[in-house]
């Protein structure tokens, strides 16, 4: 009940973010190379990439801590590229939370409101609302160091949303939490973001996390966006090798279309696929390990070279004819196949993605 009231007070129009042709060089290295993207009102967009991919630079450009060499950043159509961070009205949760160690939880959350010269009684009310929203009512008088990692995270979140920011930025906020807590916090952040309708950019190198949280994912590598799409699109139909490899487990092969619906792989093997690419076109082929079944239009037989028991499934590495090595997941039923065992699997054309 208390939560619902709190939420009503905080919900307000969030903004739309538009980045156009953002470029940033550090010496010889292009940290950002002409990045353009749009985040819709109330959307949670994840920027996913390995370290050094430019995702942190992009975040800093949006937050205003870094000025791009080229391009522009707009919130609701208004250019903010040159605006200092303090005047952007963007809530941010830092990797290590960056709570003010000398201020109580209450004073931490009150900070952005005090900076905006909000009247005292209103500050008290809004801080209480924000703390209720992250389920930390009653912790107001504690110092950050007296809180657990998860609680500090909630304080950081409360501090980032208490002033109704136009945009919420989350910079790998779950990295320091243990697995269980991380999953709880992920779902909680997602719920909160949806309920408040906050336009949110979430930065991570953890593809699993990205799939759980996002409306859309932008995969970054070497300063460019490799693909922006919904989570299923990214997973099922990656645009290139990098995305296919970075998101999830994958079997990636290369070859050329040898006719309608057939691909000749580099090793000589042909595959039945669903694709309207013209004959002769060079293509990549992605087969997710869990899409293999015991039979299918494309049959593989191979010898187990590695077998791992994962609770719900077996993860098998198979050496197949023609030098193909396959990663396959099977439901964990019966005994784990020993290395050396021969196993036959198959995959249907529509489970194979051609790019």
């Amino acid at each position: 009940m208390e939560r619902l009231d709190a939420e009503k007070g905080m919900k307000q129009e969030s903004a739309e973010l538009l980045i156009e042709g953002a470029g940033k060089r550090f010496g010889e290295v292009a940290a950002l190379d002409g990045v353009s993207l749009q985040v819709a009102r109330g959307e949670l967009l994840t920027i996913l990439g390995p370290s050094g991919s430019g995702k942190t630079t992009l975040l800093k450009v949006v937050a205003g801590f870094e000025k791009p060499d080229t391009g522009s950043v707009k919130i609701d159509g208004v250019e903010i590229t040159a605006l200092p961070p303090a005047r952007r009205d963007i809530g941010m949760v830092f990797q290590n939370y960056a709570l003010f160690p000398h201020l109580t939880v209450e004073r931490n959350v009150a900070f952005p409101l005090e900076m905006r010269n909000v009247a005292k009684p209103e500050i008290v009310r809004r801080v209480a609302d924000a703390l209720a929203l992250v389920e930390l009512a009653g912790y107001g008088q504690r110092l950050p160091r007296q809180l657990s990692g998860g609680q500090q995270q909630r304080v950081a979140l409360a501090r980032a949303i208490v002033f109704n920011p136009r945009l919420l930025l989350l910079d790998e906020p779950f990295g320091a939490l243990d697995r269980k807590l991380r999953e709880t916090m992920q779902l909680e952040v997602r719920r909160l973001q949806r309920r408040l309708g906050l336009t949110t950019i979430f930065i991570t190198h953890d593809q699993e996390e990205a799939l759980v949280l996002s409306d859309r994912i932008a995969v970054m590598n070497k300063g460019t966006i490799q693909q922006i799409a919904t989570t299923t699109e990214i997973y099922e139909r990656p645009a290139n090798d990098f995305v296919a490899d970075f998101v999830g487990e994958s079997n990636i092969f290369h070859g050329a279309m040898s006719g309608p619906g057939t691909v000749a792989l580099e090793g000589g093997r042909t595959l039945q696929v669903k694709s309207d690419k013209p004959a002769g076109a060079k293509v990549g082929v992605l087969m997710r390990p869990e899409r293999f079944a015991s039979g299918g239009a494309n049959a593989f037989a191979g010898e187990v070279i590695e077998a791992v028991y994962l609770g719900t499934s077996f993860k098998l590495r198979l050496a197949c004819e023609g030098g193909l090595e396959l990663l396959v997941r099977q439901p964990a039923r019966g005994a784990l196949p020993a290395p050396g065992t021969r196993v036959a699997v198959g995959i249907d054309p529509d489970a194979i993605h051609v790019f």
Partner: protein, 269 residues
């Protein structure tokens, strides 16, 4: 302390015992000559000597104050500027520290004298007609002592600002704090420990200062160490000198332990 940890420290402990603890005890012995507290009564009872103690504390406080208002901005700047400028700052701060106090004090005499560099400049440029009294007075002692002790304030401040997580400052900025407010609300409270450490070092060192007040004060600014020296060298009154030293030592300890009580435990950042 485990036995294993004790042995490597033995040479230093021996050195401290022979050249510090033993002489201090001997000195205390001098001051209690004949088993009476007469010399202490004189040191603490006569207005003249109390005034010297008061003078000493006053100068030490003022030196600490000036070191603070000069040293904090410098230490802060060095901690937040580019590495190149920080290095330049370090050279300027540390160079005097590596130079003998005596040399630096004589250098100030050259600069501050009636016909010194400063007065020449002031007269030649028409700012004043007569030379300003900068040497052999309170002003001279202040300038000299602040110069000698400034590094002891700059370095702890530098360290405290450097220890601050830059993300905390970025967070404040992102939450809407102006530069001024970031300073008052974030930097200052989170570097108080550094300020305090620097202030205590400067104050305690000031209390026992000898060369600078002796040379730049020209006999007109008497600090307690100057008085002790006179007792030893001119009036050969060793017991009284010892009693004055003991009082200074006690006062220093008192200030130090008081300061310790006010120092808060290091913030976990």
């Amino acid at each position: 302390m485990t036995a294993r940890g004790f042995w490597p420290a033995l040479p230093a402990l021996l050195l401290l015992f022979i050249f510090f603890l033993f002489p201090v005890v001997r000195m205390l012995g001098f001051s209690l000559e004949g088993g009476s507290l007469d010399w202490y009564a004189k040191a603490l009872g006569e207005g003249l000597y109390l005034r010297v103690f008061w003078n000493t504390f006053e100068i030490a406080l003022l030196v600490t104050f000036f070191c603070l208002i000069l040293g904090y901005p410098l230490g802060f700047l060095m901690a937040t500027t580019t590495p190149l400028w920080a290095t330049v700052g370090f050279i300027f701060v540390l160079l005097p520290l590596w130079t003998s106090v005596l040399v630096r004090t004589y250098a100030w005499m050259v600069l501050l004298g009636r016909n010194g560099v400063f007065n020449r400049l002031l007269i030649d440029s028409g700012v004043t007609e007569d030379p300003l009294p900068l040497l052999h007075n309170f002003t001279g002692v202040m300038i000299g002592m602040v110069h000698v002790l400034l590094p002891y304030m700059v370095l702890p401040v530098y360290g405290a600002v450097r220890r601050l997580d830059p993300a905390i400052v970025a967070a404040a900025e992102g939450l809407g704090a102006s530069t001024w407010r970031i300073f008052w609300r974030i930097y200052l409270p989170l570097t108080l420990n550094g300020i305090f450490a620097g202030a205590v070092i400067v104050f305690v060192l000031s209390l026992g200062f000898y060369i600078t007040p002796a040379l730049l004060g020209g006999g007109r600014v008497i600090m307690i160490a100057v008085l002790i020296e006179q007792q030893v060298r001119e009036t050969l009154n060793w017991p009284f000198a010892a009693a004055l030293s003991a009082v200074l030592l006690a006062a220093t300890f008192a200030v130090y332990s008081l300061a310790q009580r006010f120092t808060r435990p290091q913030e976990a950042t």
